[in-house]
Assembly symmetry: D2
């Protein structure tokens, strides 16, 4: 699957003339929602199903700096999962070089705040998610 | 009344090594909610009364740059008002020098999205607001 | 010219479930740099020429709220100009409806902080800029 | 040492009516620079010494949601260190309850991008840092 692309904006840089490290957490969210939409679980459907996926943890490893006007290619894949929890992996590249790797852990809940097993409720979608590959694998 | 103070954070700077101009709109919100709280209309009371004040317009004039670790003193006052609309004025200073002046226009609505006249419903609070002075006046 | 498109991200919403008003100032910057690049004055060229364009003022009128996953189409045009100062106009639409109109004023400076007249130094680029049209005109 | 306090702003909330998770990374930076300043290594001194401390990794565990107007107390301490790398730990509390725990890893460099051992170059400051305690310890 094609990576999500984030074009670094001027307002995302800081006084060291690089992308401020906090913004990568936002790029992760952008990439995640974009991939989920392309896999058939876009915002509209999640709203309609009352599905929510709070972020439980994030981890981010900064390997190379990026800056204004860089095009960051972000790959998403499932790094690990249990019945109720998914760890997404992220690989971010600029011009083929890895600039950042990251993980985020999510649970899924329905409108009544009850935990939802994606694997049971949306087996097709879940399988498509599991098929995503890390470009480093 | 004492001005609200915003200490510029590193993540608010940009690659020109100055505070990114979009952040002043956020500083305005910080100052406004701080002043309203000190005048007796804090978040808790607004929630309890179901009061909302959407922003209709903003205007911001950048006079001098600021940067990381600057302490911006922000003064709020009522620049103009009709029965349903208030224009807040902002004067931002660092070390006694004006760095930015700004305005924001707000209407006020109750929980049923009906317009509220602050002057009629909260005359004491409204008078305290009107007593705020621009430091440049 | 095709408008710039900003897809509203979840992290740009606020507790009223709408796009926080401060973000529109950032969308303006995104649209401006995108248009300038398409008109032949991209980041690389500006860097090479030592050209900077500080923001002097911004004005933003919020007409309709937007929210997560909305696609905001942003049109840029030159609203007024003197030899040293340009006022850009912005019209933001979602599904053909105007949600926000805005202006920003800029001067241009070279690497030595001397004011630059775009019209004299880059007449072709300047003319292309002047040819931009407001969709409301 | 007294914790750093961050008052959650409206613009830091999202459509779930909670503080957006990316902002905690920013709160970490606020707390870190505030503690370093109180320990005698403020921005002015770091600038004067040409000292920089890029963020290598961050980790953040979200335990309870927070929202607008919450006062987050942030405790900083040294979780681990080698001669060239420091892991700061963060404990964030609201009303005595832990809402978030986090870590960030930093190296230190001088103006010539050479690694600096804080322990060797600033032994007094380093000792004051090591004396910081986690409130959970």
């Amino acid at each position: 699957m094609e990576p999500y692309v984030h074009l670094v904006q001027y307002y995302e840089t800081d006084a060291m003339r690089i992308t401020h490290h906090s913004n990568y957490i936002r790029f992760m969210e952008e990439a995640r929602t974009d991939y989920l939409e392309r896999l058939g679980m876009g915002y509209d459907r999640m709203e309609a199903e009352g599905l929510r996926s709070p972020v439980m943890n994030v981890e981010c490893k900064y390997l190379k700096t990026t800056t204004y006007a860089d095009r960051i290619q972000i790959y998403l894949y499932v790094k690990s999962h249990t019945s109720l929890k998914i760890e997404f992996g992220y690989v971010m590249q600029v011009d083929g070089e890895v600039v950042c790797t990251a993980s985020s852990w999510h649970c899924f809940m329905d409108a009544n705040h009850r935990p939802v097993s994606l694997q049971q409720r949306y087996p097709d979608f879940f399988e498509r998610m599991l098929a995503l590959q890390s470009p480093l694998a």
